[in-house]
Symmetry: none
Subunit: 210 residues, 4 copies
DNA sequence: CATGAATGAGGCTTCATTCAT
DNA sequence: CATGAATGAAGCCTCATTCAT
């Protein structure tokens, strides 16, 4: 969409910019996005306020940059070694999501928050989310096509709901301190619920040889 | 719960207060909580700024009041006529949630938002949420006890996840304008996924065949 | 200056007014004049804010009323039984001042304070003060005339200074909690310093010469 | 005394800060402390309101700074050339006080005023005052020891009273426009009253020369 | 590029005063 | 007369943004 000029930065500039991004994430996590003032970021980064504006237009722009990085980590492409087994693929996706969320819980929650008042950020989020859902949807569609899952639910709708289940679980579990579940049990349970919800034939049997 | 003096309000006071609550909800929905200034609420209510402070300490306090009302509507006790059938009960609960959310989508989303920066509000939310989850958990526990659902998942964990699925679906579907699903189909699909996830014996009746 | 109408008050009115004066003095003493809001006075008096304005135009007006009462007490006419002895008269005046100040220290200090921003109040104060000083001045003048005190100081100036000494001593000693002197010793010392400052022949008696 | 970071100010900052102090003193003197709004100070200084907060937390903090300066001037150490003669020393102290007060009458009165509602400021004042009184007390104690003054008064009490006489005289004479005395005559009279009050032997001899 | 002081619009809150009941 | 809710002017303070050094 955007035709940005690549703007090559000098070495020094690169460093200052990086310092700001790191500092921002730190103070965002510590005090929340809204509560963070530009001065706080600058102070944490050890640079002057003015320098902030050399690289970013606003807190929001900086946050978007942070967010983009996070989303990539949250929904990585499934690694090749996972293999074709549906349950394994579902589990792998869930594990990646749960683990990544757990790791970046605080900042992800804050980003999520900001999503409501920052349309651009929301765009980023929905893009990431849509990609994830699309993958799930394709998966369900295939299962249905292959007769491994009943066709009584809309793949798109089911994808939304199941993906949402995972996301919401992470958001409430890791985002606040209020509940405390074991991540690995969570992954396993999520996967069980998910596969059963799709009425997936359990172990798509083994080829049965004569 | 609170130990405050109840202070019975005069007729006029009652009216002014109500005007403020109504107005606040309106402007919150229109412009968002953060973007709303006290003056906006007062103006919308047709009263002076000072009057706001006669009844509320802050925007947040007012929002909490709005939130409390909403949560009650979101998770009502299941009406007696629903009967004992698990699927029917699950469907009724889902329908109530979906319908209530749909109806108050915008303000619920905003409240949800505020939840992150207002601990008291979050308390209210988590209380409501916990009650809902507890109900689901009890239900799962009973199903497992009666042999209607396998015991391979923790009732508590599953309750969290399934309740979360419903909530998150509503939040994303109704909270923003980005996706557009038919509510009734959604209720049906949610219920299907939910019951299957619990591996609920479809028609529990006895069928009995000779 | 003002030709006030006597305005006869009804019984009820009289009572409400009195309640306000009493309440005002109480809250003034407790929280300071500036810190006291009209509501506070009304609340303390157990009447509605509106009623305050039925009797007073402002806090200041009320305070002036309180002040006037206090000043009368502070500088009462010397009682007849004191007799003509200069030292005894000086001591009596000092004792009255010290005792009255001690008794009403807090409110006197506050009034004193208000004196700076309320010209009318200052008028009251200076009137009272001037009367006191005038009495002292007359006394010094007489002593000088009778040869009992050297004429090397202006009676007016000395009166100012000596009266001021007494006042300031009370103001600092009783107005704040910082110093703590015995009132009776103070009266005695003030009197000693005062009489010596005027180089008053110690025991004026002596009379009779053979 | 304070454990704050010293923060060395840049040249420009120094200048702005000074402009604010000067301006503040000016408007305080003109309109009174309470009547002065932050905007007034900023406007007088020719800077923006925000700049005020770069250097001070509040009007009060600024006033304290002004006060501290004044107190130093009010009670300077006696210069060496005064010599050891008690009367001369007393006179020198009185003259310094009277002259400094006269010079800064208005602002000193205002500061004095603020003293009542600002505990920190009062602390400053009492510290300065205590130092002055302590000096007087030491002096009286020595005179008594050397038999130059009778021991029938407590040095501490007398010090309080005599110092108070000087202060109060200045406060009333210079603080308001109501009385009008010649400063030099005042110094002389104060000194006379003071020395006589201590029953100081007039010209501590010197005489005798064959 | 970096710096950080200066700017000032904008929101919050208080409370003396009014006035309809 | 009493009541107390309503009013809104007025001051406070923050902080994103600019710009001279």
């Amino acid at each position: 969409m955007s035709t940005e000029a690549p703007k090559p930065l000098t070495r020094r500039a690169e460093r200052t910019r990086a310092k700001l991004v790191t500092a921002a994430r730190k103070v965002f996590e510590k005090h929340g996005v809204l509560e963070t003032r530009i001065v706080d970021i600058a102070k944490e980064a050890g640079v002057a306020v003015g320098s902030f504006y050399t690289y970013f237009e606003s807190k929001e722009e900086l946050l978007r940059e942070v967010a983009a990085t996070l989303y990539v980590e949250l929904i990585p492409p499934l690694p090749a070694e996972v293999g074709p087994d549906p349950r394994a693929r579902i589990e792998a996706g869930n594990r990646a999501y749960v683990r990544a969320y757990e790791k970046n819980a605080r900042i992800l929650t804050l980003v999520q928050h900001q999503t409501l008042s920052d349309a651009t950020l929301r765009g980023l989020y929905e893009e990431a989310r849509a990609a994830f859902i699309a993958r799930v949807e394709r998966s369900i569609r295939r299962l249905q096509r292959e007769g491994l899952s009943p066709k009584d639910v809309s793949p798109r709708l089911a994808a939304h709901m199941l993906a949402g289940m995972v996301h919401e679980f992470c958001y409430t579990t890791f985002g606040f301190g209020t509940v405390d579940f074991d991540p690995e049990e969570a992954v396993s349970t999520l996967t069980t619920l998910w596969t059963r919800a799709l009425a997936l034939k359990p172990e798509t049997k083994k080829k049965s040889k004569p």
